[in-house]
């Protein structure tokens, strides 16, 4: 057991995966000597060598595209995309190549690639550094997408992603990189592609993931003061979505609020809402409510707190669901 920040838990998870399997290698911009702009890969080049921690040339399509070839050669490449907003030059490789090669080859070609993407906002930065593009990847079959919200999940999800024979995108909640938590190195917390009920409740359910999980918990705490018992589900896996866990919760509580940093329109919240409504139609006391960002480009830092859902917006949604 260690108490680590999410960032350090990721470093430790990567290091352990590299220790255990010589085929695991890291690629990305500035991940070597600098240790990444968030220092998540700090020390790994010194420890594992420049041939296992590649400071790549500055091309995201090149990074992901060469990783495909490395995977075909038997490696397990872990690509870092420096910021959420810079994954788009690699979009073609991820969508048309990485996602499809296993299916195209009728199962002959595995694609055990991990793509790490620090994501989300409220970090007080300039444009393109605060995006939450998970929905743009979830729609494509062949990709798995997970996002940790705490240090223990971070430590294990990195290793589980790397060990998985499918391509896995890990969205890392970068504004929570410094959030500390206990890491139990002895055993993984279970299936990374499952959701987890992290707080039990009776009156309503909140589903959140990554950076909004602490906000959801805070909302449940605040609601408790008002006498409302709110269950919180940490989604953890964005593709596939563990819809059974959410539906079970909603069958119990009858009310669901989904919170995500991405814009509401076209976000994953719609998928969850549609599925849960279909599966638990007669249990719902109120329509599923979504709390997301507005249909606007991510705004300048000075006003970003109005854009990204915060505690008040989640509480407002809880108030609204209870009003039905």
């Amino acid at each position: 057991m260690s108490r680590l920040t999410i960032a350090k838990a990721i470093t430790a998870g990567l290091a352990r995966a590299m220790d255990e399997d010589p085929k695991v290698m890291l690629m990305g911009e500035d991940i070597g000597s600098l240790g990444g702009v968030y220092r998540v890969t700090e020390g790994l080049k010194a420890r594992f060598g420049a041939h296992r921690v590649l400071d790549s040339p500055l091309g995201e399509a090149g990074i992901v595209g060469t990783a495909v070839g490395l995977a075909q050669r038997g490696y397990r490449p872990v690509c870092e995309i420096q910021f959420d907003g810079f994954v788009f030059p690699a979009f073609n490789q991820i969508t048309t190549q990485v996602a499809k090669l296993h299916a195209r080859s009728e199962g002959r070609m595995k694609m055990p690639m991990t793509i790490r993407i620090p994501y989300g906002g409220v970090i007080g930065s300039v444009e393109h550094h605060s995006e939450s593009p998970e929905a743009l990847f979830a729609h494509t079959a062949g990709l798995r997408i997970i996002t940790p919200s705490n240090a223990n999940d971070a430590y294990w999800m990195e290793q589980q992603a790397i060990a998985c024979d499918d391509p896995v995108i890990i969205f890392e909640p970068k504004r929570r990189y410094w959030l500390k938590g206990e890491v139990d190195e002895s055993a993984p917390p279970g299936d990374p592609f499952s959701a987890s009920v992290i707080r039990e409740g009776r009156d309503a359910t909140i589903v959140a993931w990554g950076p909004l999980v602490p906000v959801a918990l805070a909302a449940a705490n605040a609601a408790a003061e008002d006498g409302r018992s709110v269950e919180v589900v940490d989604l953890r896996s964005i593709s596939p979505i563990d819809i059974d866990t959410i539906t079970a919760s909603v069958r119990k509580t009858g009310r669901l609020v989904i919170a995500h940093e991405a814009p509401t329109f076209g976000g994953i919240g719609g998928e969850i809402a549609a599925r849960v409504t279909e599966q638990a139609f007669y249990s719902l006391e109120a329509p599923v409510l979504r709390v997301g960002a507005f249909h606007l480009p991510y705004p300048p830092a000075a006003v970003e707190e109005h854009y990204v859902p915060d505690l008040d917006r989640v509480l407002d949604a809880l108030d609204r669901t209870f009003a039905y």
Binding site: P22, M25, H51, L54, S56, P57, G59, A61, G62, V64, G65, T66, A67, V68, G69, L70, A71, Q72, R73, G74, Y75, P77, P89, N92, Q93, T96, Q97, K100, L101, H102, A103, R104, S105, E106, G107, R108, M109, K110, M111, A141, G142, R144, C164, D165, D166, F193, S239, P240, I241, D242, I243, D244
Partner: protein
């Protein structure tokens, strides 16, 4: 070929290498001639067989498509020398990354024509076992296979380094990787990034461009002012222009490049200047965009005729050889056609098997739904004929 004049053009200084002239006579080339000294008549006959086999299968492909037996066919006619000439010198341990027109490459790597036809019959998005033939699947998104090839090449070098570091250096000869793409695809950004990565990591990779003068209806002059081989120097590695309808020049250039690559001096780029003699695909109509005269002129440069002439005049190969080969090819085409027609169509439900390598809740659920839905149809009363969709479908 349409050409455009550019006031500020900086012309390329790269020579175009040739070893067989238009009439099949041997010409000398300081750089490349040494690379064909050991080629025997047997070898040449093998090359001839491979080229004509590819052409024969190609014809059969077009015919099968016309008869509605393939959803599409992509003719390679005219590019046999470029393809066979670049594949023959590779070793089984070399990995090749084709685009979608490299049928001759596939056959030379042992892929059965009928296996390949599964793709064009609309039965698969794959076709063969990439490991068995050390030949990647076709890639239709232009240029996207180039970084894969570079990554694979980086991997072969990393393997060697790991073995060395472990004190057990590999005894085998270093592998090389070949990335195939066209003149049109050369414009895609991913091809550029591939070259940057290859140069940066000294990747043992050969970028083999078949410049067949056209990207569907767009002439080469739209993609570049100068031969594409000129690009290599911009990345600090060697680029060679070869007459792509001259099998000997292609073989020699490929051997030269592979040797250099195996010495750890890669990457290298080869641009084979050739011509797509047929349509872009069976859905295409070249009369819309190119002149008959151009086609006729390139017709005189047919790579198969050139090798045939060479075999005849330089090596006295008799007509009977050519006749036998033609017969073999006809037989092969017949067998292939029969195999194609006899193919069992795929079952849709199998599509759920290979989306992911590991179990996946959504796929499992959708598979179950699909099966349940299909089962509903066995209950005849419940069936609405799809024919009703007729409205403009």
């Amino acid at each position: 070929m349409e050409s455009r004049s550019h006031a500020g053009v900086v012309e390329s200084t790269l020579p175009k290498h040739q070893l067989l002239d238009e009439r099949g006579a041997v010409t000398e080339d300081d750089l490349l001639s040494p690379y064909t000294q050991d080629i025997t008549v047997d070898d040449l006959q093998h090359l001839y067989r491979s080229m004509t086999k590819a052409r024969r299968v190609d014809e059969e492909g077009t015919s099968l498509q016309r008869q509605g037996q393939l959803v599409l066919w992509v003719p390679l006619k005219g590019q046999e020398a470029a393809q066979i000439g670049s594949t023959w010198p590779t070793r089984p341990t070399d990995r090749l990354y084709p685009s979608y027109r490299e049928h001759a490459v596939a056959f030379e790597r042992g892929v059965e024509p009928s296996e390949l036809m599964r793709y064009f019959r609309g039965h698969t998005a794959g076709g063969w076992d990439p490991e068995k033939h050390n030949l990647n699947l076709y890639t239709v998104v232009l240029g996207s296979q180039a970084p894969h090839a570079v990554g694979y090449a980086m991997g072969t070098a990393l393997d060697r380094k790991a073995a060395e570091d472990a004190g057990t250096p590999l005894e085998t000869e270093p592998e090389a990787v070949v990335a195939y793409f066209g003149d049109g695809a050369s414009t895609e950004g991913e091809v550029h990034e591939s070259m940057v990565f290859a140069a940066s990591y000294d990747a043992p990779v050969l970028f083999f461009i078949q410049n067949n003068q056209w990207a569907i209806s767009v002439p080469f002059a739209t993609q570049s002012r100068v031969p594409l081989a000129t690009r290599a120097a911009g990345y600090g590695f060697e680029g060679l222009r070869v007459d792509g309808n001259d099998i000997l020049a292609v073989v020699a250039a490929t051997r030269y490049a592979l040797a250099k690559i195996r010495r750890g001096e890669g990457p290298v780029l080869i641009e084979a200047e050739t011509y797509r003699m047929g349509a872009h695909t069976t859905a295409d109509d070249p009369t819309k965009y190119r002149k008959r005269e151009e086609e006729d002129q390139w017709g005189l440069l047919d790579p198969i005729e050139r090798l045939k002439e060479h075999l005849r005049t330089a090596h006295g190969v008799a007509d009977s050889f050519f006749e036998t080969v033609a017969q073999e090819n006809d037989d092969l085409a017949r067998r292939m056609r029969a195999d194609v027609l006899a193919m069992t169509p795929p079952e849709f439900v199998d599509r759920f098997e290979h989306v992911y390598a590991e179990p996946h809740a959504l796929v499992a659920a959708e598979r179950a739904e699909y099966l349940e839905y299909q089962a509903g149809f066995e209950d005849a009363s419940d069936v609405h004929g799809t024919a009703a969709e007729g409205v403009g479908a």
